[in-house]
Amino acid sequence: MKLRNAMYSMIVLFVGMFQATIAKAEGIDAAVNSAFASSTGWFVSLIFAPLPGTSFPWIVLWLVVGATVFTLYFGFVQFRAIGHSIDLVKGDYSDPKDAGEVSHFQALTTALSGTVGLGNIAGVAVAIGIGGPGATFWMILAGLMGMASKFVECTLGVKYRNEYKDGSVSGGPMYYISKGFEERGLPGGKFLAALFAVFCIFGAFGGGNMFQANQAHAQLSSVIGDYPGWITGVVFAVLVFLVIVGGIKSIGKVTEKVVPFMGVLYVGAGVIILLMNIDQIAWAFGQIFEGAFTGLGVAGGMVGALIQGFKRAAFSNEAGVGSAAIAHSAVKTNEPITEGLVSLLEPFIDTVVICTMTALVIIITGQLVSDPETGLLLVEGGRVVTADGSSGVALTSAAFGSAISWFPYLLVLAVVLFAFSTMLSWSYYGLKAWTYLFGEGKTAELVFKVLFCLFVIVGASASLGPVIDFSDAMIFAMAVVNIIGLYCLMPVVKEEYNSYFSRLASGEIKKFNK
């Protein structure tokens, strides 16, 4: 009964917010903004609060410390086991009898389509635009460390997932925190799991939905010209509705096929540009290394570059946030550790490969303006001066456009598609958190899905800064709870790890002949 009341009050809150924001009148927009800012501002400030005496948000340090602890605890698993991870993705260790079930490759690519997106295109440009080329170095480092966080959370996601009688599965931090804590006799598991689920729902409505719709609209209007955001919102909402409520699988299927294609096209274009300027790659890496430790004149110097790099890596690959554990938990395997090993490729592909490539293209195509006399970057108002004054997606677009003139149009399509596929992924993450709290019923699911679609329209039509800030904060709040859970449960992963690798070494686990 309590749960039902809680659900109703959440619905009333959401619908209230929706009604208030969909009205296009600016006065109402502003009213909602200030109401939201005053009621949730404290939470946002708390999550993004800087460490005393610095401008370094403690939450970023929290993620980096977590990643470092996992890296050390598992003896640099991300470097030692990556070869085995690739063998697992190739299916060398998959039993042919399991054909038709979710393969490691499918679990990995599904999770990737939730993380590859704006972070790789816009986030990198923001990082370099503020932190200079050196931010790239810290971003790569954070990506490499984040691989260990993913490894831990995805192993646990599979180990403690719920497998229902009808063959469907549900997994994620809310399941491993509640079941794992109980198993180890630790207190507070149920509470932390519920807290995670609440953060995850808000994160799904915000960063996984409104932010994506908002950015997709911004991109479309940059090409088509200014038009009301609600049009984009309604179109997106209808498409999302058709997929998640209407069960029109074809749209989801098309997205899932087009998105990897766009990803390959994006990386391919990047590689071509780098090959065209192959003589400058060494110079670009020089800038990255030099900038990492000196800042090359950016605001805050080395620390400024470091903050931007770490922050954008965390935004981009979501390692430690717990979202990927939900996506990875559907895989068919009897060894949870194998999915952990596969998942560590995710931050590698997302951050180390794709983000680095974007960064190199921006640096090599000469988008960052430096002082010819001192060699230091020109900085104005805390930002590095760029060739055409652009920042964010526009900076990436200008960098690619300077080498391939028609690429910006393709980039708009890519951003829109990435946004759509990220929305679909987060609708699922949010739904899993929702059903964890309210039970797996058709009505409860429908309520969530309809609300999700309504928020697409809100996100696209309004420029609600505080709402977006709040939802970003929610995604990071997920990481606070999740990493506490990971610290408490990492001995479980260690046991799995030791057992698996000793059986692999003894030849008990071997490749299948196909």
Binding site: V102, G252, A330
Partner: protein
């Protein structure tokens, strides 16, 4: 020594032709002939899926197998048994040509019997037909029924 024949069926009219030819061949071979009926559900471990599809995958796989069994494989086995042939069946997920061949190797079969698929024109030229793939890659003799 018994002889095993593999017959690939897919619930279509072509599959029925392959089955009736297999019966004829089995009659010629005599009482020592085993027939293995194989139905392959085309599937790749390298396709891209949504999270929801993944979560329901196990359930859908079971459903697909039971539907294929009920509608195609079981009736085929029954018709073979009714006519006095020793027959077994299986439903598998994967690539048709690859799986028919591996079942043949595994059961030490004499030959694989399939029917010419009806795909023609552009798509078969671009992607190649299942039959053509099987003929080109099989390590066991293949009979293609016209």
């Amino acid at each position: 020594m018994s002889t095993t024949l593999i017959v690939g069926i897919d619930g279509s009219e072509a599959g029925a032709r392959a089955l009736s030819y297999t019966k004829r061949l089995a009659t010629l071979i005599g009482s020592d002939c085993n027939i293995e009926v194989v139905y392959v559900i085309e599937w790749s471990p390298y396709s891209f899926q949504t999270p929801e599809e993944n979560a329901l995958r196990n359930k859908q796989r079971e459903q697909a197998i039971s539907v294929a069994n009920e509608r195609v494989v079981a009736p085929a086995i029954k018709s073979l048994a009714d006519e006095g042939f020793a027959a077994e069946g299986r439903v598998l997920h994967g690539k048709v040509a690859h799986l028919l061949n591996s079942v043949a190797v595994e059961t030490n079969a004499e030959q694989i019997i399939v029917a010419r698929s009806s795909a023609s024109g552009f798509s078969s030229r671009v992607f190649g037909s299942v039959t053509a793939n099987l003929v080109m890659s099989s390590t066991v003799p293949v009979t293609v029924v016209g």
